[in-house]
């Protein structure tokens, strides 16, 4: 892990593996967005991707077992490119290559669940996974200029 401090006002957020902890994420992203003048569309994408990734880690990676660490590190790589590095100590899981439920072929086939990875891949500009000896590291990139949202 990159650290176990309690700093949630800076560029790093330290969480425990509880769904209730995820409530810290949106206000943290709001502060980052204000500090770095991140556009609302990119902020939405960050918010969405982190919710999907972090809820997946808590619910599936740690099977809702509380008190395991999750660290989210924010990096402003260039003026219009931002990255979040998410590290956990859960069993290996690579969302970059994990299968996604097939897209709905008819209205009745719409899945109740399983959209998290699809949304992550759609709203993030880059995803990079690294297995670590003790867990997982996922780097999620957002480009203001190249955002799939901005381009639509």
């Amino acid at each position: 892990m990159t650290g176990n401090g309690k700093d949630t006002t800076g560029e790093r957020l330290n969480l425990r593996s509880r769904i209730s902890e995820l409530a810290q994420v949106p206000p943290w992203i709001e502060r980052l967005a204000a500090r770095h003048t991140i556009p609302a569309t990119t902020q939405f994408a960050m918010d969405l991707c982190l919710e999907e990734v972090l809820s997946n880690i808590v619910q599936h990676g740690y099977s809702n077992d509380p008190n395991h660490p999750i660290v989210v590190q924010f990096t402003n790589a260039t003026e219009d490119y931002y990255m979040f590095v998410v590290e956990d100590e859960a069993p290996p899981f690579n969302p970059v290559v994990a299968p996604v439920l097939p897209a709905a072929g008819s209205p009745d086939e719409v899945q109740v669940g399983g959209n998290g990875i699809r949304l992550l891949r759609r709203f993030a500009d880059t995803l990079e996974y690294q297995a670590r000896p003790t867990g997982n590291r996922l780097t999620i990139g957002f480009s203001v200029a190249g955002s799939p949202i901005a381009k639509d």
Binding site: P107, V110, G116, L119, D152
Partner: protein, 111 residues
């Protein structure tokens, strides 16, 4: 997450959601949505004031929609913002629950 309902003419129920339909928001409205799904047959889900929608929020829409349609009813979504609509379309939910941006069109779709 605030949720309220309004009865419109023609037996239509307008369900108004406000705020973030994230994990917490979905948990907050699940019970009420399930009650609506079990009792109403023509439902407009008003998302005009929903600022965020995640996959758990999608579940809070899809499961009731399936129940309503399973009872022969109809359900539509009204007024999502651009980003919320993108989430709906990325997940394919728009093929199950039609999206309308004019209230008159949403009402007409249920009649």
């Amino acid at each position: 997450m605030p949720i309220s309902t309004e009865d419109l003419e023609g037996g239509i129920t307008r369900v108004i959601l406000e705020g973030r339909l994230d994990i917490e928001g979905a948990a907050a409205v699940d019970l009420r949505m399930n009650v609506i799904a079990g009792t109403k047959k023509a439902v407009i889900v008003d998302l005009q004031n929903v600022s965020f929608l995640g996959s758990m929020g999608l579940r809070a829409l899809v499961a009731p929609a399936r129940a309503i349609k399973g009872r022969g009813g109809r359900i539509v979504i009204f007024g999502p913002n651009e980003l919320v609509e993108k989430v709906l379309k990325t997940s394919g939910v728009d093929t199950m629950i039609p999206i309308h941006h004019e209230l008159q069109n949403a009402i007409a779709a249920l009649q």
